[in-house]
Point group: C2
Chain length 558, copies 2
C-alpha cells in the first residue's frame, strides 16, 4: 500500500464543527467567532471570564538541534495532544501559525505530519483568520505615520538617517530588502533609504505573542522605539500617537484561533514570531487561555532546545508567569545518526555506533533543560527504517542521563501510537517534581545575561563583543532597559554559531555581531551570525505550480 502524503491524510479528515470541538473545553457557541465551519476565534469576554480559574499543567515539547533528517517536533506536539485525550485527559495543544509568503517559495508545510496533524491544512497555509494581515496593516500604518509626521513638519525632530522602523509584507520579496522611498518630488516627502522585512519578523508580531490582553498590547506597542532624534533621543510609537489605532487593527488578531487535530481534539493555533530575532513561541494569550480550560496543555518552541526552549523559558514563561510541569525532548534515530557523522544519503543502513556517537547532542539538551528545574522525558519519534538496536541505543543513553526515552508511533498511528508517552508525561507533570526557575535574574547586567546563556546553554568558553556593542548595552542599561531578557539570534543547527558543528561541541566562543532593542516586545536581541529578515524566492518558486485543479482543490501548495 502506498504511503499517503500529509495533504492526502489531512483531506480525508472527518472534521467536527468547530463549535463541537470548543464545547468539549466548555466554550459556548456564542463565545466563539466562527471563521467558516472549522475555525473560530475565542471571544475576549470569554477569556476575561476565566480569570479566577485554576491553571492546568503546561507541557513543553522541544527538540534536539534540527538536522536535515527532520525530528518532528510539531508532529509530536500534536500526537501527544491526541494521546493525552485518548487516555481520557482533557488536553489541548498550542502551536504557531504559518507565514503565508514562504509557501510560495518552497512548498507549504503541514501543521504536524502523518496521522498527527492539525486541520484545515489549506487555510492554515494561506490567509487563515487574517491575523498576519492585521499585523502587516498595523506595522505599516506606523511606518506611514512616521513619514507623514516628517512630511508635515517633523515636530519630533526625527533624524531621517536613524529611523529604525521598516515596513513589512508577508511575502518573499528580496527586491524590497533595501529600498529608497519618497522619491519623485516635494509631494511625496523626504527621500530616505529603508526596507521591508517579512511580517513574522515584525516587532508587532512578537508583541502580539507576548501581550496578556489588549491593554498590555497597546502599552507595548506604545513602547516600541521607531527612530532617534538628531540628538539621539529615542522616538517611540506612542510619541507618534499610533498605538491606539494599531491596537484597533489588532483587536481581532489578539483573539486565539481554535482548530482541531485529525482526531478532533482542540488545537489553538495563534501567533508566529520569528525564532531568531524574536522568541519563536505561540501567543501568551492562547497558552494562558488553554491552561484555564484544559487540564494539560501541550505547546512547542521553535528551533532546537538551545534556542527555542531557552527563549520559551527565559522570555515567554518569565514574562507571562508560566511554568512548565514537564518537558518532552524530541529526538529521532536518524538525527542521532547525523549528529554521529552519517550523511543524509546513508541514513538507510543500521548504524548503532553512529547513533551512540550522536547522542551527546541529546544529552546536552537534557542537562540544559534539567538546569531549569523541570523534569525531562525524551520522545523518540519513530521512522519506519529505525532498527530495534538503534532505538535501544538511544534509550540506553538516555537512561544513563537519569531519565527515560519512549518510542512514539504517532506519525503512523495517531494518538494510539503515543499512549505510553502520554501516560508517562501525565505522571511526570502530576509528580510535583517541577521547580521551574529562569536561568538568570532580571537584574543581571545585559552582557552578563548573554554570557550566562553562552556558557550554560551553548557550553561556550565566553562571549566576544566589541566596544561598540558593550557601550550600546551599557547605554540601554542606563536608560532603564537593563531588566530585559536576552533573545539570541543564531543558527539553529549547532550549539555554536557554525551550523556544521553538530553533536556537543566545546571550546567555542559566542561572537555577538550586533544588538537590537525590542523595547515593546521587551527583550534585547543579540545577533550572532547572519540573520535574513526578508527571504527571497528560489529559481523555480512553488508559486509557478500552485493552482486550483478542476475540482477546486489546491495543487502544488503541499
Amino acid at each position: 500500500m502506498a504511503v499517503k502524503t500529509d495533504i492526502q491524510i489531512a483531506r480525508e479528515a472527518v472534521k467536527q464543527p468547530i463549535q463541537d470541538v470548543g464545547a468539549r473545553l466548555g466554550i459556548g457557541a456564542g463565545d466563539m467567532l466562527p471563521y467558516g465551519h472549522d475555525k473560530a476565534k475565542i471571544s475576549q469576554s470569554f477569556i476575561s471570564s476565566l480569570r479566577d480559574r485554576p491553571d492546568g499543567k503546561l507541557i513543553l515539547v522541544t527538540a534536539i538541534n534540527p538536522t536535515p533528517a527532520g525530528e518532528g517536533k510539531t508532529t509530536t506536539t500534536v500526537g501527544l495532544g491526541d494521546g493525552l485525550n485518548r487516555i481520557g485527559k482533557r488536553a489541548a495543544i498550542c502551536i504557531r501559525e504559518a507565514s503565508l509568503g514562504p509557501n510560495f517559495g518552497m512548498k507549504g508545510g503541514a501543521a504536524g505530519g502523518g496521522h498527527a496533524q492539525v486541520v484545515p491544512m489549506e487555510d492554515m497555509n494561506l490567509h487563515f483568520t487574517g491575523d498576519f494581515h492585521a499585523i502587516t496593516s498595523a506595522h505599516n500604518l506606523l511606518a506611514a505615520m512616521i513619514d507623514n509626521h516628517i512630511y508635515w513638519g517633523n515636530a519630533l525632530d526625527i533624524d531621517l538617517r536613524r529611523i529604525v522602523w521598516r515596513r513589512v509584507l508577508d511575502m518573499n520579496d528580496r527586491a524590497l530588502r533595501d529600498v529608497a522611498t519618497s522619491l519623485g518630488g516635494v509631494a511625496n516627502g523626504f527621500p530616505r533609504q529603508t526596507g521591508f522585512d517579512i511580517t513574522v519578523a515584525s516587532e508587532v508580531m512578537a508583541i502580539l505573542c507576548l501581550a496578556r490582553d489588549l491593554k498590555d498590547l497597546e502599552r507595548r506597542l506604545g513602547d516600541m522605539i521607531v527612530a532617534y532624534t538628531r540628538d539621539k533621543r529615542p522616538v517611540c510609537c506612542r510619541d507618534l500617537k499610533a498605538d491606539g489605532a494599531m491596537t484597533v487593527l489588532l483587536k481581532d488578531a489578539m483573539q486565539p484561533n481554535l482548530v482541531q487535530t485529525l482526531e478532533n481534539n482542540p488545537a489553538f493555533v495563534h501567533g508566529g514570531p520569528f525564532a531568531n530575532i524574536a522568541h519563536g513561541c505561540n501567543s501568551v494569550i492562547a497558552t494562558t487561555t488553554a491552561l484555564k480550560i484544559a487540564d494539560y496543555v501541550v505547546t512547542e518552541a521553535g528551533f532546537g532546545a538551545d534556542l527555542g526552549a531557552e527563549k520559551f523559558l527565559n522570555i515567554k514563561c518569565r514574562k507571562a508567569g508560566l511554568a512548565p510541569s514537564a518537558v518532552v525532548l524530541v529526538a529521532t534515530v536518524r538525527a542521532m545518526k547525523m549528529n554521529g557523522g552519517v550523511a543524509k544519503g546513508d541514513l538507510g543502513a543500521e548504524n548503532v555506533a553512529a547513533v551512540q556517537d550522536g547522542c551527546p547532542n541529546l544529552g546536552r539538551h537534557i542537562g540544559n533543560l534539567q538546569g531549569f528545574g523541570v523534569p525531562v522525558i525524551v520522545a523518540i519519534n519513530h521512522f519506519s527504517g529505525d532498527t530495534e538496536a538503534e532505538v535501544k541505543a538511544v534509550k540506553d543513553y538516555v537512561a544513563r542521563q537519569g531519565t527515560e526515552a519512549v518510542l512514539c508511533r504517532h506519525w503512523a498511528d495517531g494518538g494510539a501510537g503515543i499512549e505510553e508517552l502520554a501516560h508517562k508525561v501525565v505522571a511526570l507533570a502530576d509528580s510535583g517534581q517541577a521547580d521551574f526557575k529562569v536561568l538568570y535574574p532580571d537584574d543581571m547586567p545585559l552582557l552578563d545575561k548573554i554570557e550566562t546563556i553562552a556558557r550554560r546553554i551553548y557550553h561556550a568558553d565566553g562571549v566576544d563583543a566589541d566596544d561598540r556593542i558593550r557601550s550600546q548595552l551599557a547605554e540601554w542599561q542606563e536608560h532603564g532597559y537593563g531588566h530585559l531578557p536576552i533573545c539570541v539570534a543564531k543558527t539553529q543547527y549547532s550549539f555554536t554559531t557554525d551550523p556544521t558543528r553538530r553533536g556537543a561541541p566545546t571550546g567555542h566562543r559566542l561572537p555577538v555581531r550586533e544588538v537590537r532593542l525590542s523595547a515593546g516586545a521587551g527583550f534585547v536581541v543579540a545577533i550572532c551570525g547572519e540573520i535574513m529578515t526578508m527571504p527571497g524566492l528560489p529559481r523555480n518558486p512553488a508559486s509557478e505550480t500552485i493552482r486550483l485543479d478542476s475540482e477546486g482543490q489546491i495543487e502544488g501548495l503541499f
Copy 2:
C-alpha cells in the same frame, strides 16, 4: 432630542444571526461560511447550483455629480432595499466594500447613513472578511515573481525600464508612491524605480469584480500585462506562471459577503475597485448571485451617473450580460442649490430659484440614462432643512423631463420612509419598459468610443488626444484589444474635466492625458486629469485619535 450619529444608530442595531438573514433568501447554513456571527461568505458550490434559475430584476441607484452637500447614494440604495422588503418584496442590496487604509487618514464612513445603514459598521471599515488583504497578497506575489524572474536570469528578456506592474498596500502612504527597489547589492537583485498604489487601484481588484467565476478569474489574471520586453512585446502574468497561485490566494475573496441592513434585510458587500482608473462597481459574482435568489436587487455605482452609471452600464453590464430594469437617480435639494451657485455655508436658507438653476445637472443625467434605454425615476433624499417649495421645484422640473421625482425619508425613518419610491420602482421594473442597450458597440475603434462617451455623456464638443495617444490606441487595436470598452478617469464633480464647473456645462472638450491597458480586467483607461492612486495622510490623521475605549468600543474611527 439630539440627533444620533450613524455609529450610534449602527451600534444600537438588533442584528439577526447571519444564518437567519441568509435563510430568507434560501441559503442554507451549510452554504454560508460564517465570519463571526454577523458576516458570511456564500459558498462556491451554492453559487454553482443556482445556474439555471431565472434572474430577478436589477435596479441601479446612481446620482447627480456629487457636491460637498452630499447626495446619499449608498444611503438610498440601502433604504430602497429596506423599502422593497417592507412592501413585501424579496429584495437584496449589492454594494462595495470599503478600503481600510483611508480610514486612518480621514474618518471612516458608514455603509449608508442614519436609519438606512448596513452593519456591522466597524468590521466593514476594518479587515471585514479579508478580501482586500487577499488582493494585496496576490498582487504583490506577482510583483515578487517579476523581480525574481529577472534575478534568476530574465529568460523573458523583460526590460527593467518597462515594468508596469507596481506593488500595492491598503494604506495611505505617500512615501511609497515612488521608490527605488533592489538596492544593497547583488543578493537583492537589479535596482529599478517603481512604486506602490493603494490596493483598490490594483487591476486584480477590478478583475475580482468582473470575473464570473474562478476559471474566468484565473484567465483574466493570466491576461494582465505586467511588463514589456526590450523589443516592446508585452509580458503577461501568465508568462510568469503567477496566475494559478494568485487564483489560489483569491479563492475565498471571490465568494460574496453577506451582511444585513439595520432592518435585517440581506446585503451583499463585495469588491471595491477604484471608480476612476477602474469601473467602481461591486462584484459581478455578488450581483449575479443576488439576482438568482432575490426578486429585486438594488445596486449602486460609484461617483455621479456620468462616470459611475456609464461604467456600470458600458463595462459591468456589457461584460456580465446584465441589464437593469430601472434606474434610480438620487438628488438632494441641497445639491441642486449648490449646482445653482449657492455656497455650502448658505445652504440653510430657502432658495427656490437656486434649486431651479441647479436642476439642469439632474436633467442631463436623466437624459443620459434614458439614452441607455432604461426607465429612470428620481429619488429626492430628504434633508431636514428642505422646504416644501424647494422640493416642489425639483419635482416640477423632473416632471417636465417626462419622469417623476419621489421624496424619500429613509435617512430618518428607514424603510418606512421610502415606501412610495419602492412601490414606484417595482411598477417601473415590472412594466417591461426597459430595453437596455450599451452606448457603443464592441467593434467601434477605441478613440471613437472615447469620443462617443465625451459627446453623448459629457456633452463635450470632442476629444483632444495627441499623436502619442492616438498611435498607442491604434497599436492596441492591432494587437487585438480594440474590442474593449473604455474606462474614463476624470473628476467626478463635473461633466467636464474641471471640478469647479457644476450644472450642465457645454462647449468644453475632453483632453486625454494618458491611456492605459487593463488587459485582464478588460478595458482601456483614458486618463483625463490628475489621478492619484496612492493617497497620503493629512496633517492630523484620524489614526492619531483612533483607539479602543475602556469598554473595548472603537473610538475615533467614525
